[in-house]
């Protein structure tokens, strides 16, 4: 602020000096014939300065001194201007830095349901483009507004001191210019909006075409697509041209207004100068002052438009920031230390998904959505002693993954979304700190996610202080070690666009290794072997069996061979446990489990008509 003020004051001095030098000359009119150097009458300060420096006076000295002064003043003003720019940049970029961090941290702490329906692209857009719009406004326009205000605040007293009448003249048109800006603000905002929307439409046609290129080609619809794009492209062009027409009108009319203002100063000043009530130097200085004042005012229309845009973006950002973060624990505080043994007990657990309000309010349809509205789990009872293995199977939508998400504290199973009790080593998990709970459970989720980092960093997500040989033990158990060794950079190989692209099976095995590395008493594999082939599956299962007794394990799979070894197998349907027992018991009871087992393991010797030897073709319709 101070540097801004000083900078502006210094900027104002240069015209004043030039003005005084010019005023030195009229005296020469008297002694024009003599043409002597002494005819130049320096302003008093210049004479004092000359004496102070111990120089002898004279036009040459005075003028040289003035010249030096002008350069020094400009440089000094520049230094302050630079300081102002520096402070402004540090301030605005600093605000942006913390805004970005705040958004990021907040997103990571939002509850799982906030992401259920959110569109990733939209969220990313808010976090990047909208932040950028705010940045642009902060770094340019806010600084500009501050400068304009300071400029006016500093210059008006100076100008009034110089000449009151001319000062009134030089601000006479400013209200008109402001009013004009206000009027255009609406038109400009509309034109900008129309152009932006047209651009959005064009981009989405383009995006759809590029993403759906297979569909376009397989229907031979290139011409149709070109016609569609032509419409959107042309619309974008026309609307942008309209925007330019509005801008052209705005800038040219504001030019007329501003130049009129400058002209008024010039001619009113000239009039008064000739009338003798003002010096020529004051006039020259004033023409420069009023130019300094008028140009920022001229920007007002543009500033208003940008402020409007920034306001919209800010609103979209607060929509994210206003969502409540995940509470540290579901209820109450931690109730004492955990034994870390891994005993799990579920009693009468019922649950349904909370529905997070969608940010854009778009309705969602389809089975997927309807399924989410009823009870996903109903009166589930489970008892797992430390080290036991549970197999969890059932048709899609039967509640298997929901159960996992509850155990991980991703959703709250207490009223109003559910009821019952889930205890880990005798402690109700709702009362645990979420981080403490999650530290007890290592999990492989459906469609596991890997980060675009090196293989080693991805594994270390499971346990960051793991020793090298621990990494190796985990990857070997996941049948992944040899694949990693076959990569050129081994464990340092980058995953993702800039490195290797892993197959679905490799991704799953990475996620398994990552989970195995995590020192937690409970291990959950949610459909973690669906993309690996039979042989690898058997290897991994064998490795898991070798660890039996160390970790309480829950295996969810559609492939029954993955759960056949479990101590207990539970069949879920529509959120209820419909069958339970060990493999032999379930096969003997000839229920749904046995049916699917035979479907997946047909005995070709016995088959004749259908795929299942003991019965006819499985009915697809059940009453």
């Amino acid at each position: 602020m101070v540097s801004m003020a000083i900078g502006i004051l210094l900027v104002f001095l240069v015209p004043k000096i030039s003005g005084q030098i010019i005023d030195g000359f009229p005296a020469q009119a008297v002694g024009a014939a003599a043409g002597s150097a002494g005819a130049f009458v320096p302003p008093a300060w210049l004479e004092q300065l000359t004496q102070f420096l111990g120089l002898s006076g004279g036009t040459a000295t005075w003028l040289t001194l003035t010249g030096l002064l002008v350069v020094c003043l400009t440089a000094a003003a520049g230094a302050f201007q630079y300081l102002r720019g520096r402070l402004a940049a540090q301030a605005s970029e600093g605000i942006l830095r913390s805004l970005r961090m705040q958004l990021y941290r907040h997103l990571m702490e939002l509850p799982a349901e906030a992401f259920d329906r959110a569109d990733t692209g939209d969220l990313v857009q808010r976090c990047t483009s909208d932040v950028d719009t705010v940045r642009l406004f902060l770094s340019t326009q806010v600084v500009e507004i501050g400068r304009a205000v300071m400029l006016v605040a500093c210059s008006l007293p100076l100008m009034f001191a110089l000449d009151v009448r001319l000062t009134w003249v030089s601000i006479s048109l400013i209200p008109i210019i402001l009013g004009f800006s206000m009027i255009f603000f609406r038109r400009l905002t509309r034109a900008f909006q129309a152009a932006d929307e047209a651009e959005g439409r064009m981009t989405s046609v383009l995006q759809e075409n590029l993403t759906g290129i297979r569909v376009v080609r397989s229907f031979g619809r290139q011409d149709h697509e070109e016609a569609k794009f032509e419409v959107a492209n042309g619309d974008h062009r026309d609307r942008t041209q309209h925007l330019f027409r509005v801008l052209a009108l705005f800038w040219s009319l504001s030019d007329v207004l501003c130049l009129s203002q400058l002209g008024l100063v010039l001619f009113a000043g000239a009039h008064w100068t000739m009338a003798g009530s003002m010096t020529l130097g004051t006039l020259v200085a004033f023409t420069q002052y009023s130019a300094l004042v008028i140009w920022p005012v001229r920007q007002m229309g543009r500033i208003l438009v940008d402020a409007g845009k920034a306001g919209v973006s800010l609103k979209r950002l607060t929509e994210i920031l206003d969502q409540a973060e995940e509470a540290p624990s579901m209820a109450g505080g931690p109730t004492g230390p955990l034994s870390g043994k891994g005993a799990l007990s579920l009693r009468g657990v019922s649950f349904r998904f909370p529905v997070a309000p969608s940010m854009d309010g778009a309705p969602v349809s389809g089975e997927a959505e309807r399924d989410r509205q009823g009870w996903v789990l109903q009166d589930v009872d489970l008892e797992l002693r430390p080290g036991q293995t549970l197999g969890l199977v059932g048709p899609p939508g039967s509640g298997k993954s929901a159960l996992v998400q509850l155990l991980l504290g991703l959703y709250d199973y207490q009223a109003p979304h559910g009821r019952g009790s889930i205890q880990l080593d005798g402690v109700e998990i709702a009362s645990l700190d979420r981080h403490a709970l999650r530290s007890q459970v290592a999990a492989v989720l459906q469609n596991p996610f890997l980060f675009a980092k090196s293989i080693e960093s991805n594994l270390r997500v499971g346990h960051c202080e793991a020793e090298r040989d621990e990494l190796r033990t985990a990857t070997e158990a996941a049948s992944l070690h040899s694949s990693i060794e076959s990569f050129e950079s081994g464990y340092d190989t980058l995953i993702g666009e800039r490195g290797v692209t892993l197959s679905g099976g490799q991704k799953q095995r990475m996620a398994i290794a990552r989970a195995l590395l995590k020192p937690a008493p409970v291990l959950i594999l949610d459909d973690a072997l669906s993309a690996v082939d039979h042989q690898t599956e058997q290897q991994i299962l064998a490795a898991l069996k070798a660890r039996a007794g160390q970790q309480t394990t829950i295996v969810i799979s559609h492939r029954l061979s993955s759960v056949a070894h479990a101590d207990e197998i539970v069949v879920l349907n529509a959120g209820r446990i419909v069958e339970r027992g060990c493999h032999q018991q379930l096969i003997a009871s000839q229920g749904a489990y046995a049916h699917l087992w035979h479907l997946q393991h047909p005995d070709p010797g016995a088959r004749k008509p259908g795929p299942v030897p003991t019965r006819s073709h499985p009915p697809t319709v059940q009453p």
Binding site: G85, R86, A270, G366, A452, A592
Partner: protein, 630 residues
């Protein structure tokens, strides 16, 4: 691959690139003329304002020196001033409008040409480039280049007019002082160029970091559950903060350069002001120069740096945009690797001019006939060193009306086989024939017209369900659209949607479930009534009713139609006339279900050990009644 396509630093400006791009501006010659005229006019008006002031000041001092007589009339000056104001406003209005028109027209034209070429380019081109990368070329790059061309034209013309004008006025007014003042021009030019270049370099760095931040946000949101269950919020945020800090540093650096630039050139400019004050002031005191001239000189020295700044900026922009320019030109000029040969093109032309009845649009037979793969091999990225053999020596003949089920492990080559048939790729060896005629001897358009494709996770376009189904045949009536939906058993389901057939499916069709999407795309394919149906069965969770509808529809539709089904369901496989077991790019076994089971080979293995890929993922695999929740 990615590194290959990344921004490369370019030292110079290559003329061919810009010649090609300016070719797009050629169509707008009158508009370019207007831009030039208005730029010239603006420059002229800008130069003339200080002259009016000069004359006025001279008149006033002249009148004072005389010490008597009537004061000079202001009227003439006022009129001159007003005239210049109007001239300037007209020119400003004119150039904003015409530059706007030029810019938008040129960018729309480049985009149109780019889009048209993208429609012709082969799939391999898309495989090498992410959709996001292509988007950036077609939006950001296009806009940037059109901006440079249109505003560059204006700025170069205005700056030159202004600069030459100032120089001439100064030299005419007082050539000695003028020459002295002009000595700072090289200094100003040098400083401007140096600063602009650095400013643009840091801007570029900022853009790069910003795209990294976008990627970070994207990754973190997609992996948020993983982050949560491993309690990685802290490390993730720490990593993110490194990138955010980098952005902060670069942005501040960029702002500092800009903050330094203006004071620097103003200070250099003040050297000229000082020289004018000293030398000019002396001359005035000697009476050898008018006071007005001094005032004019003072005004001009303050204006000089602006055109230089513009010129430096444009030149640096051109240099920086070189890479964008080259990428666009490459996109525009690239020849599709798969296109109709000359003989096919002339056959299409001949059929158009003298249609032979009973012939297809390319003069060939309308019937597809038997489909034969003759020793077909294929490798992705062939010829680029990165050979990855996907199909080897595939030999198979499919009779008209036959239903073929393709089974085998993921990555075995099933999808590639289909892609070759649709001519999305060209075999690296061997050939595919339809009714004995080489696929390459038929027109691409005809080939595309005979296939109906249903993908596993089909893509739907933004818009209503009706529009999406109609994509199969653009001139189909509403009744025909609904008939196609009924055929796949989707009619009731679609009517139940809010708005029925007018239900907006959203981006990518994501407001529908995957099963619903597949049904809609099934209807879309059938509306076309294709001679050959290609279907990739859905593997993932589909609810029972939708699943049942698809199965029943398949039953009806496959009858008597040549079809290829990448099958995941036993019932589909059992219904097929022939099963091809594809593993490691070869057809390992073929025959009917019972033949293959009896063989106890790979097919038996697949069925026995893995229960196929997706058994158990569908609700109907489970012998469970629909227990409805309360």
């Amino acid at each position: 691959m990615q590194t290959l396509l990344e921004d490369s630093q370019h030292a110079g400006v290559r003329l061919e690139t810009w010649k090609h791009l300016f070719g797009f501006a050629q169509a707008y010659k009158p508009l370019m003329g207007k831009v030039a005229l208005f730029a010239f006019g603006t420059g002229l008006a800008d130069i003339s304002f200080p002259l009016v002031t000069k004359d006025l000041v001279d008149a006033i001092t002249g009148w004072r020196e005389q010490g008597s007589g009537a004061s000079p009339a202001l009227g003439g000056y006022v009129w001159a001033y007003l005239g210049l104001t109007l001239l300037l406003a007209t020119c400003v209005h004119g150039f904003i409008r015409s530059v706007g028109r030029l810019k938008t027209s040129v960018s729309a034209d480049i985009r149109r040409a780019g889009f048209a070429n993208l429609q012709r380019l082969e799939f391999a081109y898309y495989d090498e480039r992410a959709a996001g990368w292509l988007m950036a070329r077609m939006t950001g790059d296009c806009e940037r280049l059109a901006n440079i061309m249109a505003w560059g034209l204006l700025d170069v013309l205005w700056s030159s007019t202004f600069l030459v004008g100032i120089a001439s006025v100064l030299l005419v007014l007082n050539w000695k002082l003028g020459l002295l003042v002009l000595t700072v021009v090289p200094l100003l030019a040098y400083a401007s160029r140096a600063f602009q270049k650095r400013i643009l370099l840091t801007s570029r760095r900022i853009r790069k970091i910003a795209s990294g931040i976008t990627a970070d946000f994207n990754e973190s949101i997609m992996g948020v559950l993983t982050t949560k269950i491993f309690s990685q919020q802290g490390p993730q945020a720490a990593q993110f903060s490194i990138r955010v800090d980098e952005l902060y540093q670069s942005s501040v650096r960029n702002a500092l350069l800009s903050a330094l630039y203006l004071p620097a050139v103003l200070t250099i400019g003040s050297l000229a002001t000082a020289m004018v004050l000293v030398r000019g002031g002396y001359a005035v005191s000697l009476g050898s120069m008018g006071l007005g001239t001094l005032v004019a000189f003072l005004a001009y020295t303050r204006l000089m740096f602006e055109p230089l700044q513009q010129l430096a900026h444009i030149f640096s922009e051109l240099q920086m945009a070189q890479a964008s320019g080259e990428r666009i030109v490459e996109l525009l000029t690239r020849e599709p690797a798969i296109q109709d040969s000359e003989s096919v093109q002339s056959a299409v032309q001949a059929q158009k001019e003298h249609p032979v009845p009973g012939r297809a649009e390319d003069g060939g037979p309308i019937e597809v006939g038997a489909i034969e793969f003759e020793n077909v091999s294929f490798a992705y990225g062939a010829g680029q060193g990165g050979d990855k053999q996907v199909l080897s020596d595939v030999q198979v003949r499919i009779e008209p009306g036959e239903t073929v089920a393709l089974v085998g492990s993921t990555g075995g080559g099933k999808t590639t086989l289909i892609s070759l048939l649709c001519r999305f790729y060209e075999p690296t060896a061997g050939r595919i024939t339809l009714g004995g005629i080489d696929l390459q001897a038929r027109s691409l358009h005809w080939v595309q017209s005979i296939f109906g494709v249903v993908l596993q996770d089909p893509y739907l376009f933004r818009g209503s369900v009706r529009e999406n189904i109609r994509y199969g045949q653009l001139d189909a009536s509403d009744a025909e659209v609904e008939a196609a939906a009924s055929l796949v058993g989707a009619h009731e389901m679609l009517l139940a949607l809010p708005g029925g057939y007018d239900f907006d499916v959203g981006e990518g069709g994501l407001r529908l479930s995957q099963g619903q999407r597949q049904l809609v795309s099934f209807a879309r394919a059938l509306l076309k009534n294709p001679a050959v149906l290609i279907m990739d069965e859905a593997t993932s969770n589909i609810d029972t009713q939708t699943e049942r509808n698809i199965q029943q529809a398949l039953h009806k539709v496959l009858q008597g139609r040549t079809s290829f089904v990448i099958a995941h369901r036993l019932s589909t496989i059992e219904r097929a006339d022939r099963i091809l077991v594809i593993e490691g790019g070869r057809i390992l076994e073929q025959g009917t279900h019972s033949e293959l089971l009896a063989k106890r080979g790979r097919y038996f293995d697949l069925l026995h050990h893995q229960g196929l890929e997706a058994t158990g993922t569908k609700a109907s695999d489970w012998e469970l009644g629909a227990i409805r929740p309360d």
